[in-house]
Symmetry: C2
Subunit: 215 residues, 2 copies
């Protein structure tokens, strides 16, 4: 595991993002940017996805956090290459942090680079990191009104993953409402319902991701 302090932001984000994407493309690496609120279950989703995709893909992960390496430790425990970015207060990852974090990465050994962004439903929406796909994660326990309240991040995502569906019996979350709001904000984005804890919905999401990477 490598820890990078996110400090030297020199060039415009979009330009660096495009450079990242060119580098990923040249090496056949598919980039996925995972965004969502703090505690929506991004890391747990990744653990379940990687277990499901085991042997089919060679992933690496970049973890973005204000402080600490809790999530990177979890990925490290799976034997998956992981870089921890500590933003030291910054509320989102940007393309230059990804460029720094991937510096020295063995692109030949991987085909999927998952970037788990800082938990933030607002600020992460505006920053292209060079990814090919952006997944927004919303947990049942957050409530179904988040799409109306934080529209930009949903609008700019390629799929919505609704997590913690095992909590549906203890919640007033309305799947219909969230799905129809997503349809309005991002008409082409599929909606996946998953309980990473119970493994439900993970195979469908994994298959979709694997198919998407081949396009």
């Amino acid at each position: 595991m490598k820890i990078v302090a996110a400090k030297k932001i020199l060039k415009a984000n979009d330009q660096i993002a495009e450079e990242n994407r060119v580098r990923f493309n040249a090496s056949g690496v598919y980039g996925v940017n995972i965004v969502g609120s703090p505690g929506c279950g991004k890391t747990t989703l990744l653990e379940a996805l990687f277990a499901q995709l085991n042997g089919r893909l060679a992933p690496a992960v970049i973890e973005g956090d204000i402080a600490g390496s809790i999530d990177a430790d979890r990925i490290d425990a799976l034997g998956i290459p992981v870089v921890q970015i500590n933003t030291e207060g910054a509320c989102h990852l940007d393309a230059s942090m990804i460029a720094a974090a991937t510096d020295g990465l063995d692109y030949q050994a991987i085909d999927l680079l998952v970037i788990e962004n800082v938990g933030n439903l607002v600020c992460t929406a505006g920053f292209d990191l060079g990814e090919h796909l952006r997944l927004v994660v919303l947990s049942v326990s957050e409530g179904d009104d988040k799409l109306v309240k934080y529209p930009a991040i949903f609008q700019r995502s390629h799929a919505l993953v609704i997590t913690k569906t095992d909590l549906l019996p203890h919640s007033n979350f309305n799947i219909e409402r969230a799905t129809s709001d997503m349809k309005r904000l991002a008409p082409d984005a599929p909606v996946f319902l998953v309980s990473a804890l119970k493994g439900e919905g993970i195979p469908a999401l994994a298959d979709w991701l694997a198919a998407r990477m081949k396009r």
Copy 2:
């Protein structure tokens, strides 16, 4: 209900925050800034608190959201004066938005001004709004590791309210861990455990708030 677009940020935030506080003090209004992740239960907590404090206090509310007026509608339905700030993409409230939102407020008619910040565990930490008290809300469903991952906002709060304790049986949230992390980050801040849904813990929090206002 009044809707204010947050645009004209002219003076340094801290100066305006101090002006807000002077204005609140002159009118005997106590300001509370409520921060936490999207969907941590801030509005539901407020609904329960206001029901508990009914008749003891005269509150007004400022709701901060990127878009929409879902939360303000809920407060409005309680017959409590409410101003909706739409930040139009901004990830936190700042002191000038509060100055604009309170312009024309009947200070004589209220003694408690609750500001529900934008759902964001990062960016809201850095902005003094002129409040007297900052409450940070963390829901059980977000996980007990948030204090380590987002330390600043916990460090700068006067109390931690752990919400959705009714979900404890369905979660691996460790109350001990969160409480001891809060003790380390903010030694003087009490920790309240509440289930707004079941009304549990609300009387203790309401009493503490009412006592704090009299100090």
